[in-house]
Symmetry: C2
Subunit: 513 residues, 2 copies
Amino acid sequence: MMEAWRKKAGSAWERTKRAPGLACRKMWQVGKDDPRRAIHAVKVGLALTLVSMLYLLEPLFEGIGQNAIWAVMTVVVVLEFTAGATLCKGLNRGLGTIMAGSLAFLIEFVAEETGQVGRAIFIGCAVFIIGAAATYLRFLPYVKKNYDYGVVIFLLTFNLITVSSFRVSNVMKIAHERLITIAIGCGICLFMSLLVFPIWSGQDLHNSTVNKLQGLARSIEVCVDEYFSDEAVTEVREEESDDEDKSCDEDPIYKGYKAVLDSKSIDEALALYASWEPRHSRHCRYPWQQYVKVGAALRRFSYTVVALHGCLQTEIQTPKSCRALFKDPCIRLASEVSGVLMELATSIRNRRHCSPELLADHLHDALQDLNKAIRSQPRLFLGSNCSQASNMLAVAAAQARQEKEREAAATGGGGGGASLLLSSAKTDTSALREWKKTRSKKELYTERKVLRPQLSKIAMLTCSLEFCEALPFAAFASLLVETVARLDSVMEEVEELGRVAGFKEYKRDDDDD
Amino acid sequence: MMEAWRKKAGSAWERTKRAPGLACRKMWQVGKDDPRRAIHAVKVGLALTLVSMLYLLEPLFEGIGQNAIWAVMTVVVVLEFTAGATLCKGLNRGLGTIMAGSLAFLIEFVAEETGQVGRAIFIGCAVFIIGAAATYLRFLPYVKKNYDYGVVIFLLTFNLITVSSFRVSNVMKIAHERLITIAIGCGICLFMSLLVFPIWSGQDLHNSTVNKLQGLARSIEVCVDEYFSDEAVTEVREEESDDEDKSCDEDPIYKGYKAVLDSKSIDEALALYASWEPRHSRHCRYPWQQYVKVGAALRRFSYTVVALHGCLQTEIQTPKSCRALFKDPCIRLASEVSGVLMELATSIRNRRHCSPELLADHLHDALQDLNKAIRSQPRLFLGSNCSQASNMLAVAAAQARQEKEREAAATGGGGGGASLLLSSAKTDTSALREWKKTRSKKELYTERKVLRPQLSKIAMLTCSLEFCEALPFAAFASLLVETVARLDSVMEEVEELGRVAGFKEYKRDDDDD
């Protein structure tokens, strides 16, 4: 008993001892991932110190007085990470305050006529109605997207003014002072976010689009490489994917498309903030919404990549011997697709048009290659009887080898035939052995999960079903071709982006990376 | 010139006239979509009126005074849509205020010793350091997720107290009053959100999980139905999908999985808020995180559905005659999959375990059916030469029909053979005509987009490439089977949810819907 307690206490102590180190490492990591975060933190500290001066320095305080508090509050709430977000919030705060002030004065003007009790009732009703209406307004999607914060500030200011006007006589003076201090607070925020190491939402959006393109390019390449690589790697991946999301983070394929899948809300927020930023005003209105469209096209593209990744993880696998036949054209097509994505990424990064003729021709050739490879192996898709399927695959593989041998040695068909028969039989056996291995592994899996036999029954089903074994490969190839079709829409959107954003023309020696 | 102006002004006037009606309809729609929004708006109005009483009623005001303002502010900022969110924000506000107050007093205590100038410098430095450190802390993912609002309040309160303590002597009294008013504000918020028509995040999460399951079930069913339905419908869909997202909203397939794709952040927020809610405390800790896991499994499932949907939209299509051969088993499998999803949805809604034996057997049968159907058409996958491909399809179709005829009429093979040859030829021609039609449509498409020939070149490529025509169908079938594999992981997570949440046992006559 004592032992157990001591052990527990010991491990708890160990964890407590390690906690500060872990926290420090995490803190460091956050700053290392994006050093602008540290800069932003320093900026907020500076802005707060500046605004505190209003209180701390005698001459400034005499001019403004107690209301300097409002400037402090404004700085804390308005100063955001990017310039666009700060502008958006500042404007929302300004608009909300002014509108609330006007409305409050209107109500004050009407309420003045009545007596003290009538006035209290009138103010109470106004607070109720305006409060309910403003809250309801926040549910409108358009308002929620653009002016949510403004409505909150409107409600806050309106209530503060209306309620406090009931007890205070010189409301006008208070409102005047408050407006000035809020303006000072906003001014400090704008100065800090626009002029001192500004961080632009637009730049973030631009960079994240480039990164997403590059991530997808890497995903596709690794995915196809892995599909045709050694079985061992694939199995490790499979087992890992059974675990939590944590292990998925390590997967380079998952890492590539993860950012794209959940990018919708981030993209939209960045585009919204970016539209407030004055930096790109020489283009009249920089087309940030087009970036959102590129993001949507990329998301649609990434769903196909996810399905392609699913082909790696699925329990029904095309035998290796079959896959090997199409290795080269598939890898070539994948590298062409990822090449196009990389070129698109480079073109966006350098704000220039891409060189599409070049790319399209290569893609064309790669597609033709795959087409030819599939046509040259007609018997693979002949799965009349599944007990014979692996035999047929072996025959097809043998045929391919036969052709090669013929080309190489140019001997007759007779002598080669016997050795071919041998090799085909060998392929057959090895395929069978592989098959059995996966089977027995599945059965182990089943025994471990005795508690839910019906679930593992399905799992066994999907892997023991004797589908024509080439079917999964057909899906893989088809999805790969599908990526080309989706790539088309991505290219369209990027092209459109180049057009509306006035990218410069493509020159061969333009890129410096 | 005048004409154009008048026209413009006229249309602008028309739009202005229509705007209020449109706004009203939108407002009504927002309330109709979720009537709890209207209830929430009334609740906020009531809470604000209640808190205004502190100011408006003479006896209450005498006790609290000017600081009642802080109660108003608390209500505006803390009262959120769901009980969990309100509790989370209220606790954050409370914690932030108390910690900031303690720290501010500590600094006050240290600064007291020095003179006026030294004190100002000391306060300035403290404001800078605390401000920068707190802002940096907000970038830590853990803090951002759970305590972002608390840190903002901490910073705000700390600055207000520290700065104002420089000029005011009785800080202790101010802090005391402020704390009381904030507590009153929080109390009103908690009363409103927990006791008056409470809206639970947990219930929302529960319902949205059920809805997502049902949406996916519908998606799959419609998707497969459409794949095997008349060409006309499919083409309309294709054209629509070229447009903006707007038309996509009409698509029942897209509608089904849309909510699932972008559900990550919503799910996580709801689960976070739900974990604050006291309602399910009899289960010790209700496993809201398991709902998030179910959501993640559903998202993985939905990516396969998106890929399946992509098979409908892609420009490479398997000829109808070929698809028709597998119509029944595919539709059966799809309806089984959607049936399982529906059963899972019902089981979660009624908080009971699902009846898996029943479901798994049907799924098994449907898979076997599809397997048999594919095995019985071996020649479809024999695409040795693509100019012969449609011929072969026709032959395969003829074979199938031949078998049927043999069964039906039991005549000899001679007489039937001639008519079969005729019908096969017909099939062939119609297939060719279809093919040509799509080609010419593509060419029109090309001419319209003269500006980007390279893009449409790829588009043409992907559709004119003479891949073995059964390939796209193989992908479709394989993806359909893949959904079954993914369904397995969804079932696992739902089963786990049932276990940890203590769902009741399944009884046949349990469901009332």
